[in-house]
Symmetry: C2
Subunit: 360 residues, 2 copies
Amino acid sequence: MGVYGNREVAADILKRIWGGRGIFTCTVANTRTSTIPGVSDAGDTPELTMFTPAADAELLVNGKVTCMKGIPINPGGIPTPATLTKAALELSGMAYFIVNAGCEVEPFVPYFDMGGECGEKIVTGNSVKNVRKVYEKGYMLGESLARDHDYVIISESCAGGTTTALAVMMAMGVLKENLVSSSSPKNPKELKSRLVKEALSAAGIEPGELKDDPLRAIQCVGDPMMPANIGILCGAAKSVPVIVGGGTQLAAVMAGAKVLHPELVGNFMQGTTRWLMNDPNSSMSRIMDSISDRIPIVYANVDYTDSPYEGLQAYEWGFIKEGVGCGGASVGAIASSAGKITCADLVDRVHTIYRGIMGF
Amino acid sequence: MGVYGNREVAADILKRIWGGRGIFTCTVANTRTSTIPGVSDAGDTPELTMFTPAADAELLVNGKVTCMKGIPINPGGIPTPATLTKAALELSGMAYFIVNAGCEVEPFVPYFDMGGECGEKIVTGNSVKNVRKVYEKGYMLGESLARDHDYVIISESCAGGTTTALAVMMAMGVLKENLVSSSSPKNPKELKSRLVKEALSAAGIEPGELKDDPLRAIQCVGDPMMPANIGILCGAAKSVPVIVGGGTQLAAVMAGAKVLHPELVGNFMQGTTRWLMNDPNSSMSRIMDSISDRIPIVYANVDYTDSPYEGLQAYEWGFIKEGVGCGGASVGAIASSAGKITCADLVDRVHTIYRGIMGF
């Protein structure tokens, strides 16, 4: 594993969770922002991006997808990162649950309902309903999850979520430029920046104006995944360490949690992948630098270079990189097993899962 | 603890869970059957019985009720058995989650959504929607809960549920007479028997006709708690022992599980209270005799005789007796702690909780 940022905090958290029992959650939600052509590649077409969160949840829990045909893919057939998440959960034996923060397409699995609804396009300037209630339910859930586990992992499957993350972090003044990632190697940065500008304008918000009010920023220009995950993070981190599994989408969650509960900084870290850290078209490290110098990034060095499958090799070419908590689950599997599970083990298991899904 | 029925199975299960890590669930649901005057005392008025499941869930998770004023009480002010459940969960430190199988009044807590809806009055003969889907989601949840726990406890808060249980067990031919319990010491047996007769007639079912089809019996004359709990029981019991926490309502669940998955008998037992076992107006033991000779009843000898509070002493006079998994949670607390937690400890903690709630 690699570490970026505060090594002291990272070492302290890793020490406390090493060999411990973790619990993994994946928060699924929709935002209609993902259906704006060009925004999201997390789905074969803009319409199919709405099915991706539910399908990811089904794949994790059931090993098969029932809400649509096939599994979530990016255009070109690159498989969802849920394949890696599943490998990490299988190898570690970790408990895991789905959290539904607001899905238009419902996953056919048991999930924690947060009372949220599908988010609107951010250009409406009025994107997310029930933000405070979803946050409060998330907080209670975080407390419950922490009750008999040594640490909690949160994550997301929410197509379109890097655009909403950019919007929220601009509204909060965390970001002044577009540093967020994309599931495509051709990050549509101009389109995203334009949509965010429109969204802030529609909401009547100046960049940085909502520095102290992340929930309001989310209500205006965010997505439903955010208040749920900020809640879970804050509810859990007051008693156990939390791994925030994900990429730039989760940066908005961490920025929000830091404002609402600054006392919890030091008890959570980001868990992600080297694919994201190496992305030339985004900068996870610069985003985190601007949020806090006490939230380290720990990343798993999973490597698909030698994979016999082109769909997986594509991760090495800049496709996908993160999502469905694949990085956080990998870090968790390594930590829970006290290092016995290696990145090579994870790749082997991904191959088995991928062959099973594709019928090779 | 006392044991009724198959001591060999009871000893085997207790041995396997002794000192182990359990996880407790309480499945909440409404059936409009509870609003028929005289049917249910699980609420101060027939209308308030609809609030009882949500309020119990809130009390367990938050320690306070938000969906209504006060806490669930029986007429006369006798407090919900959730007070004992909470004591057992607090002392044991056990993880616990709420399962929503179909509530008209929603609890403001994070819960597992089973995709169910509020049940209709059983006299319609068409009481529960989505029975198979709720069962299937329950099954998946049972598998997930068993994933990293040594055993699972299921339970219910569903006012009106002894009447629906009687109806389902009559439809299945498990019962030929009215042996079910009531939260009142004046069990309204004639009313219940009459409603069940009407319900079976409305559904066009002869008693015993649905011997092999519990899900259809539930759809006709049951309540939404049942398919969820049958699912959780079956999904969990294939890998870990399950404590079925509750009274005669849960007998319908066990009868259904036995038909759908007979191979699991031997891996679950009922967990309840001595109040229920001693009830002169129902017969838990005779009901279980008619279901299987391999499903033992283990009951906690919690005793409120010397309680300084009349609301609690009333349990000794035949009020309430069971519900919200108070018996199963007590058995679980004793087992998880390898006997270190005693019934006296539970009573002490109930007093603390009760004083806190009542502001004494």
